[in-house]
Symmetry: C2
Subunit: 308 residues, 2 copies
């Protein structure tokens, strides 16, 4: 394992970059059949931007779909827009659940977002990746195959399901690397919603801890820990300069898998709900359960978890 | 978390120490009522060495008892030794299980060991720490309270159960810090049995991997990972010079707890036996389960476990 320490050159480089909107001129890409090269990499162009705009992140456990809803539609535009486009917009924004397992996280919604000179809202929808075939059928039934020829996609599933999207929806996946996208996404949300990055003050005393905005105005270098099904640890030195320094296979997939097997629950929400009612000190082995008190010589207090 | 890197001074210091028996003149202590100070720390003395010699490590999950069986008993000695002492020796060495849960690991036995000018065998006995009261009753019934006034003890339980030993057996625990003891124990076994420290050659290909002796003749600095109920990581620079650099609460306690809850097994042996029959690829999520193949950009092969 490489030790996550920045070289002095990297530190110097990192200091040059305060967080700046100009880093993101290439952040928002709208994929279409005509602006991708033969490897489905997106070429920059401002010409093809026909709605609807989607992005999709197909992870090992969950698929996350982001949908841009334009709020500045002119009467003229409304008259000329395709009927199926209007239908899709209404279907997505009037509902917050889709099929048996699709959910829209209304609390994550970002309004008044400015993307490519359009104003609107970003909606965040998710469903279990295991339900991909139901999603493709639903998307087909809503006329997606007629409207969208390509969609920006990331996560491992962008590779794994590329053929299924083509076969079911005649849709190309414009693939972006998930770690590149992750960093751009973090920086984008921070710039548009400066309260997205936070920490807990007084975190050891959970009842008296407070959620505090984190000053992310000069962020580099920082460590980014991405807890997905598995976990990646990145050292980020600048908007386009980072290393994957470590990772672990004990992550969200482990948590959910164990919760389902141990409690019979079937979803992450249910697991969290059950956890809020539990008392970890009844199942964890604390330092004081082993020592009868603190292990003072190495500064380990009696209430510290020795073994989960 | 401190980064586990030795300073150049520490490295220089470490190089001075090839592994040497002279480091261990204070390794083997025999505790008696008369060679301990008022805090139950053992004072060095060669006077009181009456048998039996025991050491005990009372961990969060298991208690490990080491017993020295002298093999050089002279006929004179045999005639004068206490009847209860002979009984204890026979009880421990003729059996390999004690009560319901006590076990002697015969495969770990170390013969021809030279301790304080006596030749003999070291026997390793263990039982669940949760059975401490049964152990104390058994020891009492075998006459231990009459023979032994103090025993060298380490692990958290040396602190937690100190009063119980005094109350049940009238026995003092001469307490040694568990991490100090751990390092001395590793160095001692290596010196007496040079095959104790090994690694697997070709470890990624489990069918063709080979157990190889590790050359531990100039060991410093080394990282020692102690997987108990919880886990401690030590950086060891010399026989008496180390730091606890990190640790995790995901350890043997987590493994055993989860195995028991998930499979209904009741012991570590049973869990290992079940595991040898299993196939992790059926429950782990591999990189290829997410990507459909390798995640080549970051060197993660398809068969790598992404999420356990």
């Amino acid at each position: 394992m490489k030790v996550p320490v920045a070289t002095s050159a990297e530190m110097k480089e990192a200091e040059k970059f305060p967080l700046n909107i100009s880093d993101f001129t290439n952040l928002i890409e709208v994929a279409n059949d005509d602006n991708m090269d033969k490897n489905n990499n997106v070429k920059r162009t401002d010409e093809y931007m026909s709605m609807p705009w989607f992005g999709i992140d197909i992870g090992g456990t969950l698929t996350k779909l982001v949908y841009f809803e334009p709020k500045d539609i002119t009467p003229d535009e409304k008259n000329t827009e395709a009927n199926s486009l209007r239908k899709i917009r209404k279907f997505l924004t009037k509902n917050s659940s889709y099929g048996n397992t699709g959910l829209r996280d209304t609390h994550l919604q970002m309004d008044d977002v400015d993307i490519r000179n359009r104003k609107g809202s970003l909606h965040f929808i998710r469903f279990p990746t295991s339900e991909m075939s139901s999603f493709l059928s639903l998307a087909k039934s809503k006329g997606m195959a007629d409207l969208v020829t390509a969609v920006c996609a990331t996560g491992g599933g962008a590779y794994k399901f590329e053929k299924d999207f083509m076969h079911e929806l005649n849709m190309k996946l414009a693939k972006f690397d998930e770690l590149d996208t992750l960093i751009k996404g973090v920086l984008f949300s921070e710039l548009r919603h400066t309260t997205e990055c936070y920490y807990f003050n007084n975190a050891r005393d959970i009842r008296n801890s407070q959620k505090m905005a984190y000053d992310f105005s000069r962020p580099y270098p920082f460590i980014l820990v991405n807890v997905g099904s598995g976990v990646s640890l990145l050292a980020v030195y600048g908007p386009n300069n980072y290393k994957r320094i470590s990772g672990t296979s004990l992550g969200g997939g482990t948590f959910l898998g164990l919760c389902c097997l141990l409690t019979g629950c079937t979803s992450y929400e249910e697991a969290i709900e059950l956890a809020t009612k539990g008392d970890h000190t009844k199942v964890d082995k604390l330092v004081k359960d082993i020592y009868g008190g603190d292990y003072a010589r190495f500064g380990l207090p009696g209430d510290l978890v020795a073994s989960r």
